[in-house]
């Protein structure tokens, strides 16, 4: 029997909902795909038609959170933020939306979308990383609200984005174990990390300008 695209989408959401409940209740490692299939009322084989692995399930949950976060972030932009504030807001809203999945999502995200090429898996995890970094790249490219007109825009290199992702994963790691109320200490760390990142970008750009503007040898 063929099922409609609508029914398929509904099934997918139902699986995700049940999986999230089970992960929260029993933890990621203690929950099997069989448990999820049973809770959803489908055969285990059918589950694999939707998600190849348990990790993919978590990444799909993360993806939904990040999309919701992105929408909220864009809607709340005031247009006067500095680059570090924009980066902070973007990451902070993402973490807030991810809060419901704290305790397991970060592990999957860290290992699945880590910055180490060796561990990198393709597919969902890589797509999430690339989407996140695309937004970051755009945010860095926007004019700094506090800079004088005509100020040099920041243009991140691949290495810069690599540094950003490393910082973000570091914050994610801290966030996972942050026991302060509503993870307020993570907010402080995130704020400082984004400032550090922008300072490093500005510093690199400045030194590259100095080199370019220096006397021509010979």
């Amino acid at each position: 029997m063929r099922i409609t695209a609508k029914a398929k989408a509904e099934n997918r959401m139902k699986i995700l909902r049940e999986a999230a409940n089970l992960f929260k209740k029993h933890g990621f490692s203690q929950t099997t795909t069989r448990d999820i299939a049973r809770a959803t009322g489908i055969a285990t084989g059918t589950l694999f038609n939707y998600f190849a692995t348990k990790e993919d399930l978590v990444l799909a949950l993360v993806d939904i959170c990040f999309k919701d976060a992105e929408a909220e972030f864009q809607q709340r932009r005031r247009g006067r933020e500095t680059v570090d504030e924009l980066l902070f807001a973007h990451a902070a809203v993402s973490l807030r939306h991810l809060r419901a999945h704290r305790g397991y999502a970060e592990d999957v995200l860290r290992t699945g979308a880590g910055s180490s090429r060796k561990n990198r898996v393709t597919g969902e995890a890589e797509r999430i990383r690339v989407t996140h970094l695309d937004t970051v790249k755009q945010l860095i490219g926007v004019s700094d609200g506090t800079s004088p007109e005509g100020a040099q825009k920041l243009s991140p290199t691949g290495l810069d984005l690599h540094l950003y992702w490393t910082l973000f994963l570091g914050v994610l790691n801290f966030w996972a174990g942050d026991e302060s109320p509503y993870q307020e200490e993570t907010l402080a760390l995130l704020d400082q990390s984004m400032k550090l990142f922008v300072e490093s970008l500005e510093g690199r750009q400045k030194s590259s300008l100095e080199v370019n503007d220096g006397p021509i040898p010979g």
Binding site: D84, A188, D191
Partner: protein, 480 residues
């Protein structure tokens, strides 16, 4: 050489000569060795030095002062002391960064010890209070959402994204209550600051140790822990909200002293929403060249507010600095920021009463009470010259009250005498004291510094006697 020791020596002011530096190295080495045998976390102390942070710089400045006072001629002491203070204050200004709230408080805390940070630097800290760069709005929004469950722009009307003031461990924003449109001040705390303060102050305790070698460390440790508790309490805005409610209930509507009302449903441990108090600060007020009469009227209110809170509510308002008073054009005095308050226990009230009685007795008969001021435990031995200093300080505190008629708080000589007594106490290492005295001392100095700057001439004694008599008869502000 030990790495942390080298770091510390590197941080010493440049003008210290090589010979002095060599001597310093020797002294510091022996201090570090000594510290290792003391029940203090030497590892933590070293970490603080290696940290290369503001703490290390302050420590270096104090160390420099400590070295110099031991090495230099007495006539040069004052100048060098002043330089060191300046250096410490400037380093503090330069190195604040994210922890400015915490360090600002530490700076104010040191104002207890005028030998270390004298009254004149209060103005630098005052600047800090109001000109520190604010947290950006996106961080603030997350904090408010975490605390109150919604974004500030959804909770308030006209929430200003730029802070108008830095405050205890956070910053203050103007806004309006939805519906009623009442103007409010929303104080928001920096994330994780309470935790940071705890760590910083623990490090600071270790750093202060070298200055306290001749003192009674157990007692100093108890005092320090109480101060630490006080600063920790200040990070709890629910406690401050309670202090505001208590203080507000102490003044009648026609008394011209306004303590802002708290909006409890918009307040938590980290967010405090209160009535907005209009007005200007002392510096601007003085720049308008007010008449002596107006200065005195405000001076009376400042004095009255402190005496009333202590006599009627048993509350020591330990932070009477210029940033916390607002001068309204209609003559009303606004009293804000009541985070740093402490309530007296029955036993402490009895102690304060005993000290008051002792203030009118001659030195020979008040001796027992002076011992109590140093150490309440029975049978404690206290050096005669320390008792003499305690008596001198007590006399200094009570002088405006026992003075017949108006007392001239603008008398620089009077203020300086108080500073000199404490300086002498510090110099001789007589720092054993009841923990409550730290609060009293901070309150006494702050209040007198405020009245000194205001140039007030007021009948402090009459106000004091009227208030304490009313409190003893159980009269509230409405019964007067």
């Amino acid at each position: 050489m030990d790495r942390s020791l080298a770091d510390l020596l590197d941080a010493l002011p440049n003008e210290i000569s090589d010979t002095a530096r060599e001597k310093a190295e020797k002294s510091l080495r022996s201090l570090v060795k000594d510290l290792e045998h003391k029940p203090v976390p030497a590892g933590q102390l070293r970490r603080a030095w290696i940290f290369g942070s503001v703490q290390a710089k302050i420590a270096a400045a104090y160390m420099a002062n400590w070295i110099r006072t031991g090495l230099s001629e007495s006539e040069e002491k004052e100048r060098r002391l002043s330089e060191t203070r300046l250096k410490a204050a400037l380093e503090l200004l330069g190195g604040m960064g994210y922890l400015r709230g915490a360090m600002m408080k530490v700076g104010q805390l040191f104002a207890n010890y005028p030998d270390i940070v004298p009254e004149e630097f209060a103005s630098i800290f005052g600047y800090f209070h109001f000109e520190a760069p604010p947290m950006h709005f996106s961080l603030l929004r997350e904090l408010v959402r975490g605390q109150l469950g919604a974004d500030p722009e959804d909770l308030f009307d006209d929430f200003e994204t730029e802070a108008f003031a830095a405050a205890s461990f956070g910053q203050v924003h103007r806004a309006r209550i939805k519906g009623s449109g009442e103007k409010v001040a929303v104080k928001i705390q920096y994330p994780g600051i309470a935790h940071t303060i705890r760590d910083d102050l623990r490090n600071m305790k270790s750093l202060l140790l070298p200055l306290r070698l001749r003192g009674d460390w157990d007692n100093l440790s108890a005092q320090y822990d109480e101060i630490l508790g006080m600063v920790e309490k200040e990070t709890d805005y629910e406690q401050e909200a309670e202090n505001l409610r208590v203080a507000r209930s102490a003044f009648g509507a026609d008394e011209g002293i306004l303590v802002p009302e708290v909006y409890s449903d918009l307040s938590t441990k980290r967010v405090l929403t209160m009535e907005f108090v209009e007005g200007i600060h002392l510096k601007t007020f003085l720049a308008s060249n007010p008449s002596q009469e107006i200065r005195n009227a405000y001076g009376e209110k400042i004095w009255l507010s402190s005496v009333r809170l202590s006599s009627q509510k048993r509350m020591i308002y330990a932070d009477p600095h210029p940033g916390n008073y607002f001068f309204r054009p209609d003559g009303v005095l606004g009293l804000v920021d009541l985070g740093c308050c402490r309530y007296l226990s029955d036993e402490e009230v009895s102690y304060c009463d005993a000290m008051e009685r002792a203030s009118i007795e001659p030195a020979e008969t008040s001796r027992e009470n002076m011992i109590l001021a140093v150490d309440p435990r029975p049978g404690q031995k206290v050096a005669e010259d320390q008792l003499d200093l305690v008596k001198q300080f007590s006399d200094w505190c009570w002088e405006p009250i026992h003075h017949p008629g108006c007392f001239d708080f603008s008398d620089a000589h009077y203020f300086q005498r108080g500073v000199d007594i404490i300086r002498e106490v510090v110099r001789r290492g007589y720092l054993r004291s009841r923990p409550v005295n730290n609060w009293q001392q901070r309150s006494f100095f702050g209040l007198r510094a405020m009245l000194y700057r205001l140039g007030a001439h007021i009948d402090a004694g009459s106000i004091y006697r009227m208030e304490t008599t009313a409190a003893a008869q159980g009269l509230g502000e409405g019964d007067r």
